[in-house]
Symmetry: C2
Subunit: 404 residues, 2 copies
């Protein structure tokens, strides 16, 4: 690097190995395709902006700027603003007694996952994840040099016996799970499965990172208490929540709940990464949680999402090939289809886009042993009519690939 | 880790070595002390909230939420919102031709520094910095396993010959500099020094990370073009700007300028860390830069800061011991005093706080070979009268330590 450069070669920044070859990604190309005006995209987990509580959110920004303006524009603290931590603790305490001091605010769940990776992971550490799981979590762990290993799942989520065997074999630093309305499958772990998994984690003394961005978006009204609320699990779990799916993804506010000394490490890591989250946004979200009826808003949004889930589930069932498997999520944003032997959802995507419909090929959600016949379809962005029409076109593409 | 835990020991999260022992920090303790109601604190670089353009900022939030509300609450892109990148490019282009495509938005400069570290640094890499330099930058580099080595400075900033020698000796991955109104010293590199440093960097082919959060806060009206604008330097420099010191630290918006393929890596790293910055805040800052007269605002703020710099410089000169050295910054927020042989600013701090005045001991700004007689004093937060009175009290403390 210190060799004199007398040539006229353009200078090239040396890039760390963790990002080598990641200048572009197939997923970025897919999202670019899916953004075409003539394509109905089920690829992203994009809330329908028509459902945002824009008036309520706007009046919270107004209130904060007119009542707490100087404070909102000033530096805050890495842990997060007191009012927001109190509101977060209040919501969490429905299932799991939580003090404001146990909350760490982050700029969305993604930053939360990255903060956890910074605070906990050493190069070479193993992280066990559901197979399939949320790909951006995998990336946050991978750039820390972690080895990500997928654990088998069934319709009730991760299989406790498979998890225990993987723990015995791989000695993981932590387990990452999305127990409720999982991304990408939409599946939910029933209580008995949560208890079985908690029992394994307690016995093997492996920490849990529990990601819960979708849990409130329930179509039946039933909600699930987090695994962190089971006996002995609070102290060994970092639980993540996000306002992105409930209020607004653009505001980028989430939080983590933990217990004990790891809270200090999480705050130090957060400070190193971004000092603190936007104080304006934090105070606004706190005001929103204090004054707006988030439960009523989420119930309205969930009712609309349920209709769309119904529309997609009804439309897709008849167009799937024999032997295919599709989930019927009780909440959240995603439906997951495995077309089965002989199908390659990635290879089929170009034809689907040509037919005006896009999805996310499922391979990208597997840490290993990808099932390439899978696809993730978000049902939340479009109306039932648009969904039905687009899924019918997807059906024609599937049929053509069946013949092939 | 997989040994069954049959004991009743409380569970303890394993923490990565990069944060081991960092649960608390002496600096955190200092800021806690400095926050005492009966203490006039010069410790933090905290803008005076009375100088915030609160009305302008509020009307920009209003405008964004009423004209771009659905977009502001929706997901954005990792690179940053187009309008903000255009405004950033427009400002930068005064000194350095810049396209919006060369801008990457970050949640403040701290996230920018962390993104750069993620994108470029391997464990064991050397980063050369000014001695002394901004301590939070050192932390962002250190948690990536980098070795931080300080290069000698004089009143004109980093010494070009010392930089070249350090490059030959240590083969650094990059050089980090704050050329204008530096933190912590307040010093500015004159044009000739910038040219000499650029010449060294071009010849040795070492990339530059140029941090410029204070450059616009000039007391004389003179501004300095960044080193990135010198011949051949644009392609080998990542230049950071922040709105924290010009508009509001609470809004947490900054940006980086770079050229070529590293821009893609910076976007991928930003996405892994936090997906994207708050879209509401980004669009609001863009609106502010488009419609408010930032230059006039900064001129007003700088005029006030200049009075305070004058007050502090006049008050401190007579109370410093013989042989002490103090800077007289032409802009920015900080004044730097080296008391000289026999003084320990850290040891003296408790007495100063007892006397109702706080500063930041300078040792924390040195990557190595700390001068423990140094202190950083921010002159921006308090009025001249408060400054004069508090510095007089500091003088009594210094005098007592002189006698000791």
């Amino acid at each position: 690097m210190t060799v004199p450069d007398s040539s006229q070669q353009p200078f090239r920044f040396p890039v760390a190995a963790r990002y080598a070859g990641m200048e572009s990604s197939p997923l970025k190309d897919i999202f670019a395709l899916a953004a075409r005006e003539d394509v109905v995209s089920f690829a992203g987990g994009i809330p329908d902006p028509a459902l945002f509580a824009l008036e309520d959110v706007t009046s919270c920004y107004d209130w904060v700027l007119s009542h707490q303006g100087h404070r909102a524009l000033q530096y805050g603290v890495s842990e997060g603003e007191r009012e927001l931590r109190e509101q977060a603790a209040r919501r969490l305490s429905r299932d799991l007694p939580t003090e404001a001091s146990q909350i760490r605010v982050t700029s969305g769940s993604q930053e939360g996952l990255f903060v956890i990776a910074q605070a906990l992971l050493e190069p070479g550490d193993v992280v066990l994840v559901e197979s399939p799981t949320y790909l951006a979590a995998v990336q946050a762990f991978s750039v820390h040099g972690a080895r990500i290993i997928g654990v088998d799942t069934d319709d009730d989520g991760v299989i406790a016996e498979a998890l225990e065997e993987a723990i015995r074999t791989h000695h993981p630093r932590m387990v990452y799970l999305i127990p409720t309305f999982q991304n990408p499958t939409g599946r939910t772990m029933p209580v008995a499965r949560r208890e079985a998994v908690a029992e394994v984690l307690r016995r093997t003394d492996v920490p849990l990172v529990e990601d819960d961005p979708y849990g409130a978006l329930s179509f039946s009204g039933t909600t699930w208490a987090p695994i962190a609320s089971l006996p002995g699990m609070g102290e060994r779990t970092i639980l993540l929540n996000s306002m992105s799916k409930l209020m607004s993804p653009g505001v980028r506010i989430g939080w983590m709940r933990a217990e004990g000394p790891v809270l200090d490490t999480l705050a130090v890591a957060k400070a190193a990464i971004s000092m603190q989250s936007s104080v304006v946004d934090q105070l606004t979200v706190a005001r929103y949680l204090e004054t707006a009826d988030l439960d009523a808003h989420v119930a309205r949004v969930s009712a609309v999402y349920r209709e769309r889930r119904d529309a997609m589930a009804s439309a897709i069932a008849p167009v799937l090939p024999e032997g295919a498997h599709v989930t019927r999520p009780e909440g959240g944003m995603f439906l997951w289809a495995a077309l089965g032997e002989g199908y390659d959802a990635q290879a089929m995507l170009a034809d689907a886009v040509e037919a005006g419909v896009a999805y996310l090929p499922g391979w990208s959600f597997f840490a290993d042993h990808a099932d390439r016949s899978t696809m993730r379809l978000s049902f939340v962005t479009h109306s039932p009519a648009v969904i039905e029409e687009a899924i019918a076109r997807l059906g024609e593409v599937i049929a053509r690939h069946r013949a092939a």
